[in-house]
Amino acid sequence: MNILLLVIFVVFAVAALLTLWRIVTGPSILDRAVASDVLLTEVMCVLGAEMAINQHTRTLPVLLIIAAVGVFGSISIARFVARKDNADR
């Protein structure tokens, strides 16, 4: 059981670090937007996993709010890139 928990922690940490590396070195702003969206989803997954492991329900509203609001980051970045593109023409 403990080994399974350790594997879960290591996999989450490695995934977060790789995603963070793509955010740092993304060639375009859209790559960074996609990578930050993945990082936000991973935060949701980590919160849910912690809730299931420790058997409490305190972070369920946080999950709901992130699921509802987290989409606006990528959408606003996409709109911002569009405006900048139209100004260049």
């Binding site: 879960i8 995603t19 859209l30 790559d31 989803t41 997954c45 890139v81």
Partner: protein, 132 residues
């Protein structure tokens, strides 16, 4: 915390242990999906292929983790909280993916040589009322 969990372990049935183990395995599956998305983000070349990798934990990973939460907590109130979370995520993940993918097409941050078909360019070249 220790005082609260001690009586539960005394009265734990074999079914509870099985459900907890299944929940841990499901969490591991969700974590592996997150790792898959991260590896895909690192190794793919342009925005639409990275978007393809990014949608794995956004939908399937979150569903798996939510099933793990429901199996671990075993209450109807938690299930009533989790179902809207999954439905909202299913509704909003294609929104951002669509916007980012369309902007990647307009921005030119995609590898045009790797496209098999380009239906958006064909529909742009044809006027809307051309009947074609």
């Amino acid at each position: 915390m220790i005082l609260a969990t001690a009586p539960i372990e005394v009265t734990a049935s074999p079914l509870d242990a099985v459900l907890d183990t299944v929940a841990l395995v499901l969490i591991l599956v969700g974590a592996l999906l997150c790792l898959t998305a991260a590896i895909g983000l690192l190794r793919f070349r342009d925005v639409p292929t990275r978007l393809h990798a990014a949608t794995k934990p956004q939908v399937l990973g979150l569903i798996v983790i939510c099933i793990a939460i429901a199996l671990s907590l075993r209450s109807w109130a938690v299930l009533a909280f989790i179902v809207p979370i999954v439905l909202i995520q299913l509704a909003t993940a294609p929104l951002s993916a669509h916007m980012v993918g369309r902007q990647a097409y307009r921005n030119g941050t995609l590898d045009r040589a790797a496209l098999y078909t380009d239906e958006l360019r064909a529909s742009k070249e044809t006027p809307p009322a051309a009947g074609g």
